[in-house]
């Protein structure tokens, strides 16, 4: 399996993140989370539901990019106009996203960097649905380049999604459904299972050390490494290729390195 790429390893790790016995919507934004969600549905978590990326529910995850003769087979309908009622505000969803900043509390930012709210230095997307996603349902993250620019010291510039920050909680508010699951990066897999939801490293990708991860993270990590992140097997690779026939995954991580790297 020496030709497995790091992106494929990450897809496999993302698919594990989506593992569930519930019937919930799996949303993976970007090639690696999206193929990971599809892989989860087609292997260990058949209850997962997903859309064609627009408005229809499909039982066969739709491959990425131009589809040629492939016909989307619609099994149901979940337009944006029903999404909050059905998926988000009932907690029946697990989303995997790539925010611009993440802090030690799991708070994320994809709205703005620097400056003020009236005049940000860099305007990004806006908070989108992150506030609602974070207060209502499970969320995970995929970060293709693990660095202190993403995993920031202190707190994120603008809290777009709720995390485990006690200072951000108002008395009487219901924070029970904040459920930050895993963060898959190009170096490791992390979760929020440490004391007071501290971020832990739970597996390292082949050739990566805990110190290497710590050095490129802006906050202190708990070493809870149980071993190497698992490589996808032959069957998983076949499905990954079916879900990403144009190999968009090759452009996700710089230089598209193999999963088994020599230590740099």
């Amino acid at each position: 399996m020496s030709d497995v790429t790091l992106a494929e390893l990450c897809i496999f790790a993302c698919s594990e993140t989506f593992r569930t016995d519930r019937e919930i919507i799996a949303t993976g934004i970007g090639p690696v989370p999206r193929v990971g969600a599809g892989l989860a549905k087609l292997t260990h978590s058949p209850g997962l539901m997903m859309t064609d990326g627009e408005a229809y529910l499909v039982e066969q995850p739709v491959p990425m990019g131009p589809r040629g003769d492939y016909q989307v087979k619609r099994a149901g309908h979940l337009p944006f106009s029903r999404f909050f009622d059905s998926a988000v505000w009932t907690g029946r969803r697990h989303a995997m996203v790539t925010p611009t900043q993440i802090d030690r509390f799991g708070q994320t930012n994809l709205s703005q960097l620097g400056g003020t709210h009236h005049q940000p230095k860099t305007q990004m997307l806006g908070v989108r649905g992150f506030p609602g996603n974070s207060i209502y349902h499970a969320n995970s993250m995929f970060i293709p380049f693990h660095s202190k620019r993403t995993f920031v010291e202190g707190e994120v510039d603008m809290v777009s999604s709720a995390g485990y920050n006690p200072a951000k909680r108002v008395a009487g508010g219901n924070y029970d459904h904040i459920d930050l699951q895993q963060m898959v990066t190009n170096l490791c897999v992390m979760d929020f299972g440490g004391p007071d939801n501290a971020v832990r490293v739970i597996s390292l990708h082949p050739g990566v050390t805990f110190d290497q991860v710590q050095e490129t993270t802006g906050f202190e990590l708990v070493d809870a490494v149980e071993g190497e992140t698992a490589l996808p097997g032959k069957d998983a690779l076949v499905i990954i290729n079916q879900l990403d026939p144009h190999n968009y995954r090759a452009n996700v991580i710089r230089d598209n390195p193999p999963a088994k790297r020599t230590v740099t």
């Binding site: 990019g65 944006f80 305007q123 908070v127 506030p131 603008m158 508010g173």
Partner: protein
């Protein structure tokens, strides 16, 4: 018979400075762009715009029409960051109320039902409440839960683009997703709808598609036919987003970076000239649907 037909200029003539205007559609999808262009050609100013934003928001900001923007995102999908919106924000040119996508439709629903607010958990644990001055409310029941009181987003006018209308304001929306158009319509004092095809009586032409009537004609003030009126946004099932046009529009934000130098290219002196400039009706209808 009721007759709500108007010209695009008459519709924009009914708007006035300082109004709060809601715009239907979603990002680069099924936006009433011809009506937006008509606003840009007018002298209107100081508008508060509420939208799931795409180039509608970017253009109105660039053209200096926007005093305040209520938004959850502004994006062109394949071009994630709307460049003209960014320029306005980074220059500190507009006031904003930033909301979660779900909060925005919740505020429209509060307005539609004449309520001062609707309670929600959304926004708790984030910076939205503090930045937007949103207040909390406590449940009077035994749970006593503290919730954010999402204020009603009352609109003076809503602008929508749909597939079909009739003279009386019956609409039909044929794409896969109505987004929150019906709530923009119901949250608004007046709603103006442009369409690809205007017929006299819907029941005489398209009674088989009555399920596509996603909101009722009592919420419609004016209708107008503008073929290609969503361009460069998508108009499913007729056509997709014009990514070539969006790329040129996004590129112009960098070079020359000055809206007044390119407004003529992206707005034009009138809608007929604009449509010609992008290849005419046929070219627009041939733009393939987006693959997500």
């Amino acid at each position: 018979m009721l007759d709500k037909r108007m010209t695009p200029a008459e519709i924009v003539g009914r708007l006035s400075d300082g109004m709060t205007v809601g715009i239907g559609g979603w990002g680069p999808r099924r936006k009433p762009m011809a009506l937006v262009r008509e606003i840009i050609r007018s002298d209107l100013k100081d508008l508060t715009i509420i939208a799931y934003g795409g180039a509608d928001v970017g253009m109105l900001c660039a053209a200096g029409k926007v005093k305040k923007l209520v938004f959850a995102f502004v994006s062109l999908d394949a071009i994630p960051l709307e460049p003209w919106f960014r320029k306005s924000r980074e220059a500190g040119q507009i006031e904003v109320l930033e909301l979660d996508e779900g909060m925005l439709q919740w505020g429209l629903k509060a307005a539609a039902f004449g309520l001062p607010f609707l309670p929600t958990r959304v926004g708790l644990g984030t910076d939205l409440a503090e930045l937007g001055g949103l207040k909390t409310v406590q449940s009077p029941y035994v749970d006593g839960e503290t919730l954010i009181a999402m204020p009603a987003l009352k609109l003076d006018a809503a602008l929508l683009h749909v597939n079909r209308c009739d003279y009386r304001g019956n609409v039909q929306l044929l794409g896969p997703d109505a987004y929150y158009d019906e709530w923009f319509a119901k949250a608004s004092v007046k709603t103006y709808v442009s369409c690809e095809e205007l017929v006299d009586k819907m029941e005489d032409h398209y009674h088989d598609d009555a399920e596509a009537n996603i909101f009722e004609r009592c919420f419609v003030t004016g209708v107008t036919e503008i073929v290609g009126g969503a361009h460069p946004s998508s108009m499913p099932p007729l056509h997709g987003p014009d990514m070539k046009a969006f790329k040129a529009y996004a590129g112009a934000a960098k070079d020359p970076g000055d809206w007044s130098a390119v407004a003529d290219q992206f707005v034009g002196p009138d809608e007929a000239t604009y449509l010609d400039s992008v290849g005419g009706k046929e070219a627009v209808m041939n733009i393939p649907l987006a693959i997500y």
